[in-house]
Structure formats: C-alpha cells, structure tokens
C-alpha cells in the first residue's frame, strides 16, 4: 500500500503571528517547523504500517528549499521517503495554485491513500484536502476520527457536531484526519538521525512537469486586499457555578430579553 502525506512548513505555532503590512502576508522569516496537525496524519499512516499492512509512506511537501529540515522532521516522524517540490516560482501560491502543484506531485505515483492534517496552523483554511481530491477526482472525507482498512475499502469515522458519521469509500482516496484521531509519538533519536539517510526527491517545477504560469502568484486567483483584527468581544459576564449558575444564566437572559 502506498500512502502519501501532504505536509506543510509553517511558522512556529508557539510564536506570535505577524503580518507584513507591505504585502499583507504572514511573516515566515522566523523559526519554521512541521505543521503540528500533519503529525497526526503521519502517525495514522505509521499505525497502518505497524498493523501489518505492507506500506510505503511518502512525505510530500510544496515549499522553499529551506523546508528540507521540515521534510526531515516528517521523515523522522515515520515517513519512508520524501518528494519535495522546491521552486522559487511557487512563491505567493494560494490554495488553488498549491493544490494544483500538490495534485501534480501526487499524480506522479499511484498512491492508494493521500492523508492530510485537518488544517495548517498558519492559514487555518481546512480545505486543501478537498481541493486536491477534486483535482485528482478522488473521494474525500475530512475530520476523520478513525480509519479502518478492509482490502481496498476504507471505513472512516468522521467527527461531526452531533456525533459521528461512518463513511465507506473505495481506494484510492483522500482523507484529512482530525487532531483527535491519535496522539503522535515523539520521534526517537535513531529516527531523527536516520531521516537524512532516507530517499529524498527534490524537484523543480520543470522536473514535475508543472507549467509555471499555473502556480505561484501567476496561477493564483486570490489577492489579499486588506486585513483587520476581529472585533473584540463586548462586555462579558463570568458566572462561576456555585450551584446557582443556571438561575443566574436564566436571569441574565431574561434581563437582556433573550428569553421572555
């Protein structure tokens, strides 16, 4: 079984995010790392492999050459090989352009399953898996809380507001996993030291057969025209439950004419 994990390099999620006022883009010059949500996708692939299914796990990343360290981090987490599309022509790609590049990389190999983390911690869009699945014309499920393989069928328990949906889909398929699906393990020292020795494929746009006009700024259809902070919350009332919280909440709602 061939599994691809699409991972992203993001600014250190523990550092404060800053926007460049000139470009309206996120400043990425600080410490960058592996998107923490992607670790759940890698962990899930490793668990499939450990369950006895013969599996090759490929790490797929679109990003600058400097993201090689992030590729190694993902490999240390459990990948077997990596495919890294690194080309200056990719700068300023939006979701449409990036999904095009990812789909082109994924089409180069016959992956049975493509996994994503549920979101990237920088842009928080949640939609890349669906965009890539659309381009590949494959079924897609998001927010997977568990995966069960049965031959060439994948059963996905999907987290929804009211509980769980269980979805069955034929492989090949695209799935984005929820951050509740597992607890990713810490990479071991041997895994970290061994990451460099795993096969790394670094490609340019030309190598991957991608038309430069379809990615980067030229291939993007969105422009960030302006940014503003979300409006702050209005005055709030904090109610500690000392046994009378329900009455206090009701009184508050009546007073504000939310209920009559």
């Amino acid at each position: 079984m061939k599994i691809a994990i699409c991972v992203k390099e993001v600014p250190d999620p523990t550092a404060e995010k800053r926007i460049d006022p000139g470009t309206n883009r996120l400043v990425r010059t600080g410490e960058n790392t592996l998107n923490p949500y992607d670790r759940h996708a890698i962990e899930e692939a490793v668990r499939i492999k450990e369950s006895g299914v013969e599996t090759e796990i490929s790490i797929v990343l679109v990003g600058p050459a400097s993201a090689a360290r992030t590729v190694d981090k993902a490999l240390a987490q459990g990948g077997d090989r990596s495919v890294h599309l690194a080309d200056d022509g990719l700068a300023d790609s939006d979701i449409l352009a990036t999904s095009r590049a990812l789909a082109a990389l994924l089409e180069r190999d016959a992956y049975d399953l493509v996994l994503f983390g549920q979101q990237a911690s920088d842009a928080e869009c949640y939609v890349m898996a669906a965009a890539v699945a659309e381009r590949l014309d494959r079924p897609c499920v998001s927010q997977a809380a568990s995966l069960t393989l049965d031959g060439s069928t994948l059963r996905v328990k999907r987290q929804v507001e009211t509980g769980y949906d269980t979805v069955e889909m034929p492989l090949p398929a695209v799935v984005s996993v929820s951050d509740a699906i597992n607890e990713p393990r810490y990479p071991s020292l041997p895994a970290i030291m061994g990451a460099k020795r795993k096969p790394h494929e670094v490609l340019s746009l030309a190598d991957a057969g991608i038309d430069p006009d379809t990615v980067g700024g030229a291939g993007s259809r969105t422009t960030v025209r302006g940014l503003s902070k979300p409006a702050g919350r209005g005055a709030s009332v904090r109610i500690e439950d000392d046994g009378t919280a329900a009455e206090k909440i009701l009184a508050f709602l009546v007073e504000n004419k939310v209920v009559v």
Partner: protein, 387 residues
Amino acid sequence: MAFDLTEEQDAIRAGVADLCKGFDGEYWRQLDRDQAYPEAFVSALTEGGWLGALVPEEYGGGGLTLADGSLILEEINHQGCNAGACHAQMYTMGTVLKHGSAAQKDRYLPAIASGALRLQAFGVTEPDAGSNTLALRTRADRQADGTWLVNGQKIWTSRFAHSDLMLLLARTGTPGEGQKRWWGLSTFLVDLREAGATIEARPIRTMMNHATVELFINDLVLPADALVGEEGLGFRYILDGMNAERILIAAECVGDGRWFVEKASAYATQREVFGRPIGANQGVQFPIARAHAAVEAADLMRRKAAALFDAGQPCGPEANMAKLLASEASWQAANACLDTHGGFGFAEEYDVERKFRETRLYMTAPVNNNLILAYLGQNVLDMPRSY
C-alpha cells in the same frame, strides 16, 4: 571551530524540545511537591533512545559524539525540565565502555542503550571522604572463591532507587612501594536487583526534588566478573570519566541559564510598573544582559571542551573551566530572573523558584567549584597545592 549548529544538531535539539513540551511546568511542580521521580519523563526519553545517545551504534546506542549528546541535556534544561533525574544514564556507562571486558560490554551496553537496564547510580562519595576520594573506606575483599565481599558506606548516591546497576568505587588494596598514591581503588558493577538486604538505602530529603540516598553496605557479595577493568586502577577510571561528566553538566547549566534569561527578559518586557515595562529600567535590564553574556561565554568553553574530547585530545582544563563558568553563569541568570520577577519569582506557579533551587546544585555537585579552582591553580598554572 564552527559556531553554528549542524543540521543534525539542530534536529537533535528540536526533537528533544518536542518531547519536553509534553512535560510542562505543572508536571514538574507536582513532582516537586511530592518529591517524586519523573518516571514518565525518563521513560519517554528512554523510549526515544535519548539516554542511550552516547552508547556506540554497535551496541545499539545512538553513537553520538559528546558535543551532540550534550545538546540533549542542554535542551532538556532549556525547556524547563530537569536532566538531573537521568543524565547519569547517559555517561556512567562510559567506564564500562572504556575499561570493561568484552563480555561486560556485550552483556550490559545493549541493555543500557535500550533502557532495559538503568545504570545511573554511582557510589563514590562517603561521609568521611567527601571530595578526598582517596580517603574512602568502603572495602572490597577478594574471597577464596574469587568473589568480592564489600562493606562500607556511601552518601549522595543519586537515583539509587531508580537504577538496576550501580558503579561502585571501593578499596581493594593499598599502594605499595613504588606505586602511585591513587593505586588501590577498584570499580565494580553492582547488580542492585540481586543485592537484597546487603545494601540498605536511606533517602535524603534535599532542598530540591533530587532522588538521593545514603547507603550502608553490609557483606555484599559480588561475583568475580563484577570488577570493571584492572584491580587497583579504579581511581584512574573514575578520573577518566570526569571530563565527559563536566562537559555534560556544563551543557545542563547552559540550558538552565538560557531558560532563566529568556524567562526574565520576557517578564521584564511584559510587566509594567509605574506606567512602563520594568525592563526599561537599567537596574532590571542590565543584570539579565550580563547573565546572558556569561551564559554565552560559558557555552563557548563547553563547546571547545566537547570538541577537544571528541577529537581525543586532552581536555581537562577546558572541561573543568566549562563546568565552573557554566554553573556560575546559570546561578547568575537564576538570580537575575528571580530579582526580575520580584515576589512572583517566589510563587511556585512561575517555576522560577524551582529552577533556582535546581540550578544551585551545579556549583556544588558533582564537583565543588572550589576544587575546580584548586585543580586549575595547581595543575594548569603550576601553583602550590592549596588543599
């Protein structure tokens, strides 16, 4: 000498940092309250292969250099954790690796590398010997059947209750004419799982959460093959391992120092009194800046010492200076951090007082800084013996 971390070193540090993030301040505070051993933390480090980092790859370890291995301990302390609970698992095996028989290495090193066996107790110091190791009184006498009968007392044997094996230094003879004054001590690998009631351990409660005991050894019988290396040369073996220990301890101090400096500078920038950040006052800012400079300077000495060690060059002066400077720097940073936090520095929830207590140990143990000064004065600067 290169000053930037290599990609591998960077990855080691990031890997340790990731692991440490799972063990936050509250984890350590609770252990501190209970004076409990950080079992989950040590298990996570063990499972990740971090504590076997210095064991050669042929024995299943990480095969790292000391420079790389020291980054592990540095980053543990830098992340607010405490490497003191487990650092000995990294380096105590050095005596077995360097002086043990092939059979001892094959038997113990793979298990130490995997963490199946914990060798992190080191029975050297005694109540009446202190830093004067040659005055120790614990005796190991060879019996007619080749076994060794051990009697004596040890103190400050850290992590004893969390070890399967203990490296023990005991007197097996006295120097005869023409022999060096240090001859006559020998090192033994004691399997604590088989020692039973012949070793009685009394815990010593200390000012920080550090698992240490006093040991009473009564008629402990060790098999003939418990002896590590040659009889009588134990003191040399212990000295051999000390440079590595000094460098690793210096790395822990650098990690502590960076934690204090980062914590202090962040608080000084964010905390406002009299309408401006307290860090805008030179009285607050300069001690932090001075501590930062001290930590960075000590780090350079530690890295030089590690580079010499890894190149197989003599590094006694550098290793000792690294430990001296780094322990002083971390203590300087600890005081700057506590002063910056004012009353809040004494509040448990800020972790400053815990780290403050923890880092103070390094000026006293595993070697007192005064003994380092005595070593430098006498052995490096050729001045008269001062003790």
